[in-house]
Symmetry: D2
Subunit: 296 residues, 4 copies
């Protein structure tokens, strides 16, 4: 399997009209902007793409819209935790994305190494797709200690990347990069990106509303190491921290994307909480500050 190339993989939000129907035009606009910015690839139907709030037909339309709109490779998220439905999701991803499918993102579904390894191997063998193993306990409900994770991954074929979103992420990136010949990506909006890059991360796979900041940081790290990466990321961190707040993070992110006119409106599907009205003025302060940093 081809490992995922390094860089920024943009986790694509799924835009909705005000009536909560999927807004495919906005989706196309959004991913074209990602392509213009120079991201390495896109991650579609992930947790922050609200895939778990879409029905099957919507997922298909979202994915095919992305495939049609840009030429980037795509990772497709699986929303379930058991083998049969993950295989079903992976088959759909392969059918729709075809040769553009860089991998299917599969969540860690058990703290027991043999169970996880069997799951991942079954998905890979049934579908032939490359696996992006996502360690994200907040979404999956499954916490796996690092030694168990290493034990499991040693027995799995077809892994093309790991996405490390369990604390402390940088320590996990270091251990996994050291042990396996596989790229490890940070997520979590980029809040720990410089530490993850120092630990050997291949890049960021996340949906921060100003991906320019992630791209600049990775570029700076390549040429100037920690100090340069730190300087590149610091001006984005106030908004990253604001956007990373549990619960309302997605609503903030979509409001930012709407403000940037990358999507038409900021709607999120329930039960995701909406943006508290008291925070809207503050959000505009953040957005105003961003204007000094990025064009458009």
């Amino acid at each position: 399997m081809t490992k995922l190339p390094a860089g920024v993989w943009g986790v694509v939000a799924t835009p909705f009209h005000d009536d909560l129907e999927v807004d495919l035009d906005s989706l196309a606009t959004l991913v074209r902007r990602y392509e213009e910015l120079g991201v390495t690839g896109l991650t579609v139907l992930g947790v922050f793409g609200e895939a778990a709030r879409l029905d099957g037909a919507e997922r298909t339309r979202v994915l095919s819209t992305v495939i049609d709109a840009v030429d980037l490779p795509v990772v497709v998220g699986a929303t379930t935790l058991a083998t049969a439905p993950v295989i079903e999701e992976a088959e759909l991803a392969r059918r729709v994305a075809g040769s553009r499918l860089a991998g299917v993102m599969v969540q860690i579904n058990s703290p027991t190494p043999a169970v996880l390894a069997a799951h991942l191997n079954a998905v890979h063998r049934a579908t032939g797709v490359g696996l992006v193993v996502q360690d994200y306990p907040v979404a999956s409900g499954v916490s796996m200690p690092l030694p168990a994770q290493i034990e499991a991954l040693a027995d799995v074929e077809g892994v093309v990347a790991v996405k490390a979103e369990a604390a402390p992420t940088a320590a996990r990136v270091a251990a996994l990069s050291d042990r396996f010949d596989v790229p490890v990506f940070g997520g979590l909006g980029g809040i720990g990106l410089i530490d993850e890059l120092q630990a050997g991360a291949a890049g960021a796979m996340t949906g921060f509303s100003y991906p320019e900041g992630l791209l600049a940081t990775i570029h700076a790290h390549r040429t100037g190491g920690f100090a340069a990466a730190r300087e590149a990321l610091a001006p984005y961190l106030p908004l990253i921290a604001f956007e990373q707040q549990p619960g309302i993070g997605l609503a903030i992110r979509k409001a930012c994307l709407a403000h940037r006119k990358l999507i038409a409106g900021p709607a999120v599907r329930p039960p995701a909480p909406a943006l508290p009205a008291s925070l809207i003025p503050n959000l505009y302060e953040h957005l105003a500050a961003m204007e000094g940093l990025v064009t458009r």
Copy 2:
């Protein structure tokens, strides 16, 4: 909408062959046995039916097998928490079960009354199906205080039953039965059944491997009140308690069903944990003791 009739609703396990493929023959045997025993209806594709571990085609086959095998009304579980995919699941249930569909079991998806009410109303209006509202935080990850639940349900159309599986269940049964003209069922393997009946429960909706015990208890309660129900349930409680253990409960239940020859084998799909070998002799002690209670 027709409210669910009182009594025992058997939560149907999904049997698997040793290779973890769905065993439809066993499924038909199992539900026919439920019908012979005289249950009021069946709940298919619930949490303990491992619906979340089946792909779409498997779910369809499971449901149509049940519909073909028996004449009982069925409640069909939805595995997801957001409106669009729950509607998709409800549509499938309606298409396959037709007029035999007594309701779709929808989990509480938010602690916020307005969010839950909008969700339930949207599902009902889009599909016309009756709603069995399931309050089961262990499965959904969502805990809703009782006052908020009452506030939400006051604004929802189409509710045909509530399934109360959040502690203390009997207090919730009492409050909901008192406030709404809707049957409330206990679950949790029947461990609190007599208390729930005393609180006004319409019956049990659960998958205890000896449904005879649930039926006998409800019958006894109707004729002899608490004391009779208590006497009827007590001999089953040692196994109910054993079967209710977190994690391994499903494996125990399927091992019992297999021992009873109601299903061919006890396999569960990962990541559900298997039965620890150290408990197998103990399980056989329980099963031997059951033989004095029920005709196999």
Copy 3:
């Protein structure tokens, strides 16, 4: 260190007057009744003794009252998770209980074997007290997989018992009893007692309001094995299950003890929830049913 003798260790509730002051007279009455019933020993200042809701002077008075009222050996619970305050609690226990101290109950404080082992060894070495290692994630917030627990305990001196209250308890009892020469006790109100005895448990350490049921079960198990133990426990299980409900379990237990006149009143200290009024009639049904079983 002397291992804890087998049998029933009564977990002693701390009675309060209506104004929530400690009721030492009731406490003396309660523990004398335990002694008359023939329990092996008492566990004082445990989780269900509300030790975490007592101040230091109250803890001392509770413990010295028990010591003065009966001749039984006592295990004293520690309420904290770090080494220094546990040592402080253990010193207090030793000072007040003297030679009557059978052990200090220390909670598992880390899922990391080396951390737990160092903690337990430090407590033992600093105080010389025997350790009753309590595995109770609901109270401690710490879940430790069984293999890690075995690894930790292999390196600890001074363990006089283990109290297994993490699911599946019987499997844990089996593994620990098999591996170590140390008595393992079940807890959780006795809900899994027959399974734990079958797995090799030395007895029950719990506060069920009718300890007669626990005593009868253990006696029956010794003479008649599983079948006899099952028959002995079954009539108590309806109340055990009622009493084991999360949150309100302690309020139920104290209401039962008050009904039995073993304590003067049922008050619990907040933030423990009170007994919902809707359950009081039901509680009286349980208590009436108990009258056929035990001499008050």
Copy 4:
């Protein structure tokens, strides 16, 4: 009661020698440095002061050392959740700190407004101390929705401040500041400080290892609003984010303080996890970058 004055309240780490004994000399050095920097006050024996890992004598020594070393007002943390032991802790704080005691920090102990209100009122009435109400679910295990919190606080006397550490903190700061005439402080290492200030926060009460950054941000906010505060905080955010990592955050913070020679060594008491070795080089990169920002 005198409300807490606005500004930075430094949450004081408890330094340990390599053998894990309390290092009072380092403690005095640390708090004198806080005083030189111009903090408004100190918070001693808080969660990140490892108060729950100290015994009673150690707590007394820590507090009296702080009182003797500086002239600042102090808030003293309570480690327990029930009324009697919190009163005991508050009495100790008052006895040792005397007129220097600005308040006792009491955690939210119940999601039920009446229970929390009764608890807080009881502590205040028994001791006369001012209350700093801490909303920190990660430490307390108690999550309280904002409306319930407002309902509770409306009935409580003696509140001198609220510390808002439940997401989304800025929305909580806005609502509480709007409703009550009481200062609300942010915590969480300062990660959301500019948003909290915009929402009306009176300042920060936290233990970030470079309090200069918090002071500069609050000063900038007073004079230049959001934009100035953002500019002031951004260079510190890379380290704040690194230090805020769940689990290892305290170890990082103490390593930073030791590097700054504000404490002699970085030891934390178990079960707090140590700093993973793989992150040490990264930590030094952060510290090197800080040298451009602060003197010493």
